[in-house]
Symmetry: C2
Subunit: 442 residues, 2 copies
């Protein structure tokens, strides 16, 4: 069934005929339980369009976190929150030893799909449950302890920046800055965590390794018939916040030559970002403006101020630099055309960085052992693993996404693929817990 | 002093060094009182930038309405509100006769100037006070009764459409539709009126004539040294609401060729509107997009839906039609380029319509009598008089605006000009109340 449409009998009545609901009846044992739990998880913040909306710190996020706490506790895991609201399910079998962390995030974009993040957290939990049972049955003790993690606010839709929980955990973002961050209505992270009973007093467990599984958010693996992608690096990205400054005036009466139209300037910037991407072959450079806010945003007032977030991404750092220069050369042209001033008020740039090669090779070996097709892939989007790989060896796995649809209610991965992904993730975590990637003592 | 900067001594300490505060000390009698009252009026909803923010039905709007009630009542006028919240100060000297209405609006845009609308209402009140006193002193009775009017929601910033109060009064907009209109936060006009004690149970007085004075919102009169503009017609306008439909996806991972970017489509539309205007000599065609809303407006999500309000205006109906065609021809091009669908969800179009010639000639005669320079002008912006002229003979006067600045905190008209305008308005209303424009009985 991999990569092919599900039969009609699986179509859901949730209001979105394009998304099939997981069907546990065609699987057995732990796989069926996993799919059943995933079906339950899809109900938190469910949207009429067949997706979910559970932004970080929202009531729906609080509900799914409480549900996850119950799931973990029932399996003998101890649930703790750290100061930024990362949720850990701890299984301490080796007192005082560091932990293999495995997880992702449950928070979502507005009107998002069901798989982004949520699949990774639930697969992590079920991988951990399987291993705990294995060790118990065999009387084995792993070399490391095991923790399932649900990172806080990976999406960054409500509170910026994205990957907030893992950024604080890895020391890249000060805790106090994160807690003080406000959403557009003025609610601080601190208060959202309190409202969802998600703020703890711990620092989180000491990590030895990290593993995560996620949908691809692209169509390459589906096209190539690959079941498991071993992520070898992330794309480089330059993210900018621009403020376009114009002058407020009357849309009806102000002659065109007198206007200093911030929205015209911003629109030219959106178009310029696209033009830069179109100068390169498709697939090598991604540019976007996803967020844009107009002030005063009245029908009869020429805008005085527009704020927008623009990003450029590429797997090729030199190409990215060339594209970045081309975009910046346009700023002066736009300023002259629209009689505005463009201010860069923020930037967040990162280069291409590799995931540890030994982790990639481990993923390839274990995938091959199960007779599944694998390939090395790059991640275009940011993930919590992008942060974690900078402090511990990290294995990041992808499963295919039908039509590459992402951040959309129609996001879909087949049941067969998410179950195969669970199996490989379980194998990876087993190996990590056994110390298979440990460096020999020198 | 007309048209020249005020001396440094008049600069205000209100935080905006570009706007001088009215200075009653250089005027005498009624003129000084008028300027003093205008200074008071500028304090309602005053902004740090030297302007005002008192959108329709806001607390600041309620406060200034209560203040106006006191001002009118003190002078013997009876204050009544009609069902849509238009505020009338009635002086009934001829029982049962229709009324000469004179007024404008006190509501403002966000971070607006002090003069737009507010000057017209206060000048109307002071013209009425002077005439009431004249008639009382001379023992005269005019042919018509007199009413000062403060129309509800001329600006349309918070509740759409603009000119709401005069549209209901003139039968162009159903009362129930207006009362049910909600602002972006879901508050209905009905509730905003109740919260500001502004909803009455009357239909408003029967009108015989209407007069209004306003700042020009352009720089033509200032350039030509004209003190009083007699408005002879309004520009034609085509106003459209467009919804650009794309498909939500991940900004980081979706290849450019797969994107259906609603914000790119909307930006191309903003630029296209400007391109159309630039095809014509400056000053003959105005195009604008002032309001634009993005969904879901997240930094990492390609927008699925953008709503925007676009308008084209010209004094030349044929030119406007040609420009409108040129814009519409671009829609298909934009749909193809951005892979979006552009839907027109609303339109509001009007042609060039004249103000009654006898009113224009009356204004010219009375201005000349005072030794002031006058000219016939067209209004590019809509006004409540645009509605009123369709049901009764209407005289619309303009005073110059320094640098033509409008819908901006820096909006400014000199004290000399607003006082001259008050005098001519008083003369016009006196003549209208005396029946000078009445048609001879046939």
């Amino acid at each position: 069934m991999e990569g092919t449409p599900n039969p009609a009998s699986e179509w859901t009545a949730m209001g979105n005929e394009a998304v099939a609901t997981p069907d546990p009846s065609t699987f057995e044992g732990r796989d069926a339980v996993f799919l059943q739990d995933f079906t339950t998880l899809c109900t938190f913040g469910a949207t009429p369009g067949g997706g979910v909306e559970r932004q970080a710190g929202s009531p729906a996020d609080g509900e799914q976190r409480a549900w996850l706490t119950g799931l973990l506790t029932d399996q003998g895991f101890t649930v703790r929150f750290d100061r930024i609201g990362n949720q850990f399910g701890l299984l301490e079998l080796v007192p005082g030893a560091p932990y293999v962390l495995v997880g992702s995030h449950l928070d979502s974009q507005p009107s998002a799909g069901r798989y982004d993040g949520a699949y990774g957290v639930l697969a992590a939990a079920h991988a951990a449950f399987a291993l705990a049972e294995e060790w118990r049955a065999a009387g084995d003790t792993p070399r490391y302890n095991l923790a399932v993690v649900n990172w806080f606010n990976e999406e960054g839709a409500r509170f910026k920046p994205s990957m907030m929980g893992s950024s604080v955990f890895t020391g890249k973002l000060p805790l106090e800055d994160a807690l003080a961050t406000e959403d557009p209505s003025g609610i601080a992270v601190r208060d959202a965590l309190a409202a969802t009973a998600s703020q703890g007093t711990l620092d989180g467990p000491e990590p030895a390794y990290y593993a995560e599984i996620h949908i691809e958010q692209g169509r390459g693996m589906e096209r190539d018939g690959v079941t498991i992608g071993a992520v070898e690096s992330n794309w480089a990205a330059n993210k900018y916040e621009f403020v376009v400054h114009g002058e407020q005036s009357h849309t009806g009466s102000t002659v065109m030559a007198d206007r200093q139209d911030a929205l015209l300037g911003a629109s030219l910037l959106v178009v310029a970002a696209r033009d830069v991407a179109d100068q390169f072959p498709d697939g090598v450079l991604h540019t976007s403006v996803g967020q844009l806010d107009v002030y005063p945003n009245s029908p009869v007032v020429v805008a005085s101020r527009v704020t927008l977030l623009l990003d450029l991404r590429s797997a090729d750092e030199e190409l990215l630099a060339a594209a970045d220069r081309a975009l910046h050369e346009q700023l002066r042209v736009i300023e002259d055309r629209a009689r505005v001033r463009i201010e860069k008020t923020g930037s967040h740039c990162w280069g291409v960085t590799p995931y540890q090669l030994e982790g990639v090779e481990l993923a390839e070996k274990l995938t091959a052992n199960r007779g599944l097709k694998h390939a090395r892939v790059k991640t275009l989007a940011g993930h919590d693993s992008t942060n974690m790989k900078d402090i511990v060896p990290t294995v990041m796995l992808f499963v295919p996404s039908v039509d590459g649809i992402s951040h959309n209610e129609h996001e879909y991965t087949t049941d067969a693929d998410i179950v195969d992904g669970l199996h490989v993730l379980t194998d990876v975590v087993r190996a990590l817990c056994a110390g298979e990637l440990d460096q020999p003592a020198t």
